[in-house]
């Protein structure tokens, strides 16, 4: 049983104003049944480091071609102190010959990425849902999420939006999932502004109509979510007037973007983010501009060699600010080409994860994230769930014989007991450009209730 913390422990710099905000949004009569509580855990020292990072982000918007000046020193340090890299060997001077690493390396030996001597007392663990493969427990320290806000603020500013952080709710994260953690939190970095995370599933609320009432009451500066949740938000017809919408996690189609922009009268920012390094790039409709100044981005060919600007390949990253996970040439599994304009870096033609909603045998729609969560306990390194146009399912994974009965039970629970399901071994041709796309559906515009 998880020991509950007090708000003073969740927010080491808790102010009376933030305490009031937490109470107001937790206890509103139309509030959902929140199922979690958490804070930013930011100490005075931590806040200083977040502010210093903010200054660094403001200063370094442009990035000249070639290796950034910090890379040799950082990589040299990691080659010495990080067990995984030390064992592999190589020299920082020969950066481009260092072998690229992948998600499978992080899965196999997460401990080997923690530098020698790094204290573990402020370690936190974030379990990914595994929308791109096996769930991954990513270690981080409390400043990492607040630094995410720094980068988000910077990306919003580039889109002409100022995230002020003010009394009230600065950020509202909406989800549309079978299960999600929901809570009221806040941010010391945003001067004590509130942060609310809700799930639009009606049974998470006392009355379905409370959703519109509560979201209107929150009146957030910015709403974040994935395209599936945004579609639900549109259907709810909540009269929100945020300064911006921030879409993450899944690829945003041009059609949905247009609809969101015209409904909410604000820019829609598509953020390319991953748990391993948090936000990497953002787009307001065109190419994705790379945001963090402390991440070196390369485009690699299938042998791990860097490709010149304009050539399409796999996005690989080095750097970041999570010192429990220093990354050297980490292959993200996503593909794009690098282009530069005015000293700024952009990812062109970035292929994100397309939102997939399956149609269950009982006529319900089931978002892929719910499938990813349900399959989590099987810890599959890769899998593909493909719904054919006739509604039947094909599941592929590396060792189907080990999981066949558990798989059927889990999938029937999510997709209905009458699904037609076949299970096969994952083949080499399922790797598209080296990446296995886990969710696919040929069912056009599935209709039906989500819950």
């Amino acid at each position: 049983m998880m020991a509950a913390l007090t708000d003073a422990e969740r927010f080491p710099l808790l102010t009376p104003a933030l305490a009031k905000t937490l109470k107001t949004y937790r206890e509103h009569p139309a509030a959902p049944r929140f199922n979690y509580a958490c804070g930013d855990r930011l100490t005075a020292e931590g806040l200083k480091r977040v502010r210093a990072f903010e200054a660094q982000v403001k200063k370094r918007r442009s990035s000249p071609k070639g290796l950034p000046p910090w890379i040799e020193e950082k990589v040299d340090e990691w080659l010495k102190k990080v067990p995984f890299y030390r064992q592999r060997g190589g020299r920082a001077k020969d950066f481009e010959t260092l072998p690229a690493i992948g998600r499978e390396d992080l899965l196999a030996t997460p401990w080997a990425f923690v530098p020698d001597g790094r204290a573990l007392d402020d370690l936190m663990v974030y379990e990914t849902t595994g929308t791109t493969g096996a769930p991954l427990g990513v270690m981080y320290h409390p400043e990492v999420p607040s630094m995410y806000l720094v980068l988000l603020r910077s990306a919003l500013k580039a889109a002409g939006v100022e995230l002020k952080g003010r009394p009230g709710v600065a950020l509202l994260l909406v989800g549309a999932q079978e299960k999600a953690l929901t809570f009221v939190s806040g941010s010391t970095y945003l001067d004590g502004a509130g942060y609310v995370k809700v799930n639009l599933k009606p049974s998470d609320w006392r009355r379905p109509e409370d959703r519109a009432t509560y979201l209107s009451f929150c009146s957030p500066e910015v709403v974040t979510g994935d395209p599936v949740a945004f579609q639900e938000l549109l259907d709810l017809k909540v009269p929100l007037r945020p300064k911006a919408l921030v879409s993450t996690s899944l690829a945003l189609t041009a059609g949905l973007r247009k609809k969101l922009e015209s409904t909410f009268h604000c820019p829609v920012l598509d953020v390319y983010s991953m748990t391993e390094c948090r936000p990497l790039a953002a787009s307001t409709g065109g190419d994705f501009e790379i945001i963090p100044p402390d991440v070196h981005v390369e485009i690699l060919d299938d042998r791990g060699r860097p490709l010149p600007d304009g050539r399409r390949g796999e996005v690989a990253i080095t750097g970041g600010r999570n010192d429990f996970l220093p990354l050297i040439r980490y292959r993200t599994g996503d593909h794009a080409a690098m282009v530069r304009r005015g000293g700024r870096r952009f990812l062109k033609g970035l292929e994100g994860r397309a939102p997939v909603v399956y149609l269950g045998s009982d006529g319900r729609r089931v978002p892929s994230i719910d499938i990813a969560r349900a399959l989590g306990p099987l810890a599959l390194s890769h899998y593909v769930l493909h719904q054919r146009a006739d509604g039947s399912f094909l599941f592929k994974c590396p060792n189907p014989a080990d999981h066949r009965s558990a798989l059927r039970a889990l999938l029937e629970k999510k997709l209905g007991s009458k699904i037609r399901l076949s299970v096969e071994k994952l083949a080499e041709e399922d790797r598209r450009g080296g990446k296995v796309i886990p969710h696919r559906s040929d069912v056009k515009n599935p209709r039906g209730p989500l819950w």
Binding site: W111, P145, Y195, T224, T248
Partner: protein, 198 residues
Amino acid sequence: MTFPALPLLTRRLAACPPAFLEAPRWEGSGSLNVAALVYDTLDFMGGPPAATTALAPYLGPLEKMEKPSTAQERLRLTALACWLLNDSFFRDRPDLAPAAEEFLRSGWGELPSILKARDAVAVPERREELARRLLKALDLRPEGETPAQAEDRLGALDSVELRRVMEASRQAQERAKSVLEAMRKKAAQEAAAQYGRE
């Protein structure tokens, strides 16, 4: 330049008289007189006679920091090296005497804290290591080997390096264990708020 045959040296070590493994003479106790052995060995090699003051390292701990048990092993290993240097190959070799004297006096490093003298007699790899260490100190190598081969072979036998590797491996295992344990514990605890979905 001629080099000694390694098997002759290792066989010589294996046949070392048990007296060389006795307790070194030290503050009135012990029977193994290492200072006398060193004196006689350097004389056997044709080097200049060792001054009485130069024999101090063979009479007890090198300094206060040296543990008595380590000093005892160092002195026993010194005696074994003297036994090797009394092989006919080293007779009347004043050219080798200064390096031999230096090795006997200060060439042991961490080895006495790791290697027991009795193992340097009883265990084939440790016999070979001691013989090779001595040859290296004298700028020699086993007959029939190139310098690189000799270096490689000693590297593979080096007890100090082996312990360092094992210690590093033990520390890495301990670290992996504590990180995994912390991960398991922290995954079950409340974490800091995530402001977005990845």
